[in-house]
């Protein structure tokens, strides 16, 4: 089954698959940013693969000079009962990824959370604002350069 997914994606976007890896029985495919919406649309509508649920969308801050962030999508197929992980490499100074809300509405809140925690913007998102932190918060907490104990006076706390 994993081979079928790779075959079909190679037929669709042969030059955009950066890497693919299988670890502990899970397939991870790394793509370039520009084809992600097309690939997800294909994976959702293809009758054999039928990845009709977006389970999770998040990001990882690899803290390296090139391709600092990796945006990770977990897809699930109800028909084949299997998961697939898609990854997109994102630069730090151009942290924009096209939104997947047109393919799965579930991406709406997940992309808001990724924007809140990492600062990655999603082009075309209907309502990109912070999910957990207050609106006036200026930093992005899950980046590796944000300290664990927080930045003093970054949150409006009640005075005694």
């Amino acid at each position: 089954m994993n081979n079928r997914i790779l075959e079909k994606l190679h037929a669709l976007v042969p030059e955009s698959i950066v890497a693919s890896k299988e670890f502990r029985g899970e397939l991870t495919i790394t793509l370039t940013v520009d084809v992600i919406v097309r690939v997800c649309q294909f994976l959702k509508t293809d009758p054999e693969l039928a990845f009709d649920m977006l389970i999770d969308c998040t990001a990882v801050d690899m803290y390296r000079p090139e391709a600092r962030f990796e945006v990770v999508y977990h897809l699930y197929s109800l028909k084949n009962t299997r998961y697939l992980r898609l990854k997109v490499l994102v630069e730090e100074d151009q942290a924009v990824v096209p939104t997947l809300t047109g393919v799965w509405p579930a991406a709406n809140w997940h992309e808001r959370e990724t924007f809140d925690m990492f600062g990655i913007r999603f082009a075309g998102h209907p309502d990109l604002r912070r999910l957990y932190m207050p609106e006036e918060f200026e930093y992005h907490p899950l980046r590796k350069d944000f300290p664990l104990m927080g930045i003093p006076d970054s949150l409006p706390l009640p005075r005694r």
């Binding site: 009962t81 509405p105 207050p134 899950l142």
Partner: protein, 418 residues
Amino acid sequence: MSARNSEDSRRSQILAALEDQDTTVVIDDPLENSMILNMGPQHPATHGVLRLLIKLDGETVMAAVPELGYLHRGYEKIAESSTYHEFIPHTDRLDYLSPLSNNVAYVLAVEKLAGIEAPRRAQYIRVLVCEMARVASHLVAIGSMAMDVGALTVLLWTFREREKLLDIYDVLCGARFTTSYTRIGGLQQDWTPQCTAMLRQFLSEFDADVKEVEKLLQNNRIFIDRCENVGHLSREDAIAWGVTGPLLRAAGVPRDLRRDVPYLVYPEFDFKVITFTESDALARFYVRLAEMYESTGILRQALDALPEGPYNAFETKKVLPSKERTYTRMEELIHDFMLINLGIDPPIGEVYQAIESSKGELGFYLVSDGTGHPWRMKIRSPSTCNLSTLPIMLKGGMISDIVAVIGSMDPVMGEADK
């Protein structure tokens, strides 16, 4: 003569001034405007600190915007600085109504990453513990949903059942609520015959007690009127919005991770996946009620099939050794020291492991860089995804339906906000 003239002229001046005055009164018709109501984070019926901004036209909800973040504790950031073992108590606090299933989910993810498998006895006990957590959580869900729509007695009766389960946790794990029972490679301590006796006692009384609760609500005209056709979520919407758990099964999709992507020893048990098709608050209530009976069936089967054997895997560099060996032998002392302070060293890679918790699919995505603490941990919480469908479910209903819908969805803000 002149005085009379001046009085007349003054009177006519006054009359003219009065008639000239603009005396139309503008009344702001409240029925023509819409009102924004804040169902604030502190509210007895929002199941935690959920803030809802509702746009109302009279009593009808036109739009609702949920706002999360009031219980955001930064668990994913904490996980990046703590070892894999240190994070286990934090997982209790996620879905705090069924803490044991969070423990099991996290430890399964770490074991998948590190390539360890817990022994058979530990897997059976984990199944027992997960199903007990499911029953406890559904008891709260049913009780609080009924309480929100007005049937206060139901809450007290379901909490009475839950107290028996919490007593079993007390004997088994040492704590009623924040249990931290599982460990990487196994469990903290063994399942004792006293726990078996308590669980069999609980199971023998459970069916009769829940039947009493059912009798209160089954033909209750008020309960059915408040919950039927309320909060409808179509099947396509449920799949597209990533909804999992009882909400998805009440919409007609038979997705249950215990059956579809099995973990632990679930393939050896016989249970049904409960689905309804109406996808309203009443259907979700019935899904939870029926799932409790299925869970007690699994509990009976697991108790009968519980094997003997070790409850911790024997993997010296990754699993904490037992206390007797740590205090008496040198090698185990060194391993204990290294594991506690520096953590297990799983291979570089990433895994995603999900379980079917009582709210839906609870998944942990772990990225490891080879050191003792994770590089990134993402908690895929079911309550966040379920809450994102609130605007769809509330639109067009009444204010009093909001409470029934939130009760039927049963969000837990501890895991929704992480």
